[in-house]
């Protein structure tokens, strides 16, 4: 069955839908967690510490976090590999362009591929910046996420990269959530408006929620 799914364009698109929804669920939790930064350094750092102790004493320190990380990496890889293979196929299936062109699909739909590449690069930078601290701008301290976040958003490039990526993620979800519903066969004529609304609301809330943090640092609400 796994072979049938992976070898079919319809099946591969299902892989994209499921992995996309896993990442979307993570993003919602991640965004809500980020907002704790507005309650001050104590609460935010405590929340970050709690993430490492979830499930204790059954789970060892950081086990749950690593479990989540493994699932996320699998989702990102499955999503990216399917997208790459399907895109190659799509481009090959339409070798010659029309002389008279008429783009009609929405902006979000047309930018899925480039948006995905931007997001992949952002994720790399984001991990190197705030998880490992490799490319961090200030003096990175692993137990002090509040200060690390303030450091990142005290640089012009940190803000630029982050805000551009969050706009990209909003656009990606706007098309992606609705498309995932169609791929998984849960869309219908009567549900279409509701699905599109949910996609737009999710996109808007996630982008606004994530962007609130750099805006908070820039305006001095978080410092």
């Amino acid at each position: 069955m796994a072979r049938t799914v992976w070898d079919s364009t319809v099946g591969k698109k299902t892989v994209m839908a499921v992995s996309g929804l896993i990442m979307l669920l993570y993003l919602v939790v991640h965004m809500l967690g980020n907002l704790k930064i507005f309650f001050g350094a104590g609460e935010f750092n405590h929340y970050a510490h709690w993430l490492r102790t979830i499930g204790e004493p059954f789970m060892h320190y950081e086990w749950t976090l690593w479990l989540v990380r493994v699932v996320l990496v699998l989702a990102v890889v499955a999503h990216a590999v399917s997208a790459y293979q399907l895109s190659r196929r799509d481009i090959k299936a339409r070798p010659s362009k029309y002389v008279h062109r008429k783009p009609r699909a929405s902006y979000a739909t047309r930018t899925m591929r480039w948006g995905g590449i931007i997001l992949a690069l952002f994720i790399l930078w984001h991990i190197l910046d705030l998880t490992t601290g490799t490319v961090h701008s200030g003096g990175f301290e692993s137990g002090k996420p509040y200060q690390n976040v303030v450091d990142t958003f005290s640089t012009w490039y940190g803000n630029t990269i982050y805000i551009v990526a969050m706009l990209a993620v909003g656009l990606h979800i706007r098309h992606g959530f609705w498309a995932a519903a169609q791929t998984l066969g849960v869309g219908s004529r009567t549900r279409d408006r509701a699905l599109k609304t949910v996609a737009n609301v999710l996109a808007l809330l996630l982008t606004a929620g994530f962007v609130a943090v750099p805006v908070g640092v820039m305006t001095g609400v978080v410092s």
Binding site: A93, H100, A105, M112, T183
Partner: protein, 249 residues
């Protein structure tokens, strides 16, 4: 009406093609688009030139033979087939671009004619029922609920013209294949082969080199018969159901 036509000319499948410009005069707004092309071809023949090759048959909008991408839109600016598009949709002095369907699975044979036999092979993979039905049965012998009959008919309207493939930026045949699958999946006659039909037809669709679906919706916008985009959603659902069932066996 006087018009400037820019038409894709290509001698054969292997030749390089290019857009050629022609002027046509004396076009009546009541002519169909194909009659306008007939007028051009009569002039070309009189001048001793090769007439423009294009597909056409019934000219009533029901056979699915006519194609043509007109000004970047499959079947032109109106939601109908090219044969049912009339010249009143254009203005005197307009320049009109006429191109063939573009997709790797639909190679150009000559000028505006493409080879759509990939569609036939998708149908051969399962777009039928194998039960010998004989002559038309008594209408009430097998009751079909009205909503199911309507649903089946809506998808049965597909004439297999290929506008969906031509309009799709990925050259995908999802709308065509889904229409053919959904047409039979809700009817009692189609039930025995419900699972193998969707699996085989989707596999054949992939085999032919059509692209995948990115849900741009261009296909449903171009479809002269109004097959809805949700037809693809239903096919995905059918495919997932059949894959699950096949996995259990």
């Amino acid at each position: 009406m006087k018009l400037t036509l820019r038409v894709w000319r290509q001698k054969n499948a292997d030749a390089e093609g290019a857009m050629s410009t022609y002027e046509v005069d004396g076009i009546s707004p009541d002519m169909s688009f194909l009659e306008m092309l007939d007028t051009l071809n009569e002039e070309l023949i009189l001048r001793g030139e090769d007439p423009v090759a294009f597909d056409h048959d019934c000219r009533e909008g029901i056979c699915g033979a006519c194609s043509l991408v007109i000004n970047g839109e499959a079947h032109g600016p109106e939601r109908t087939t090219t044969c049912q598009l009339h010249m009143r949709a254009f203005k005197d002095g307009d320049t009109i671009d006429i191109e063939p369907w573009r997709a790797a699975a639909f190679p150009v044979i000559k000028d505006l004619v493409v080879d759509r036999s990939a569609f036939d092979r998708i149908i051969q993979a399962g777009g039928y029922i194998t039960a010998p039905t004989g002559s038309a049965p008594e209408a009430h012998a097998t009751p079909v609920p009205k909503p199911d009959a309507d649903y089946a008919f809506e998808h049965a309207e597909c004439i297999g013209c290929g506008a969906c493939v031509a309009a799709c930026p990925n050259g995908a045949a999802m709308l065509f294949t889904s229409a053919k699958i959904n047409h039979l999946s809700v009817l009692p006659q189609g039930a025995p082969e419900r699972e193998t039909r969707v699996l085989d037809m989707v596999a054949q669709m992939d085999e032919e080199g059509f692209g995948g679906c990115t849900l741009t919706g261009e296909c449903a916008t171009a479809c002269p018969k109004g097959i809805p985009l949700t037809s693809i959603t239903s096919m995905n659902k059918e495919w997932l159901r059949a894959t699950r069932k096949a996995g259990k066996r």
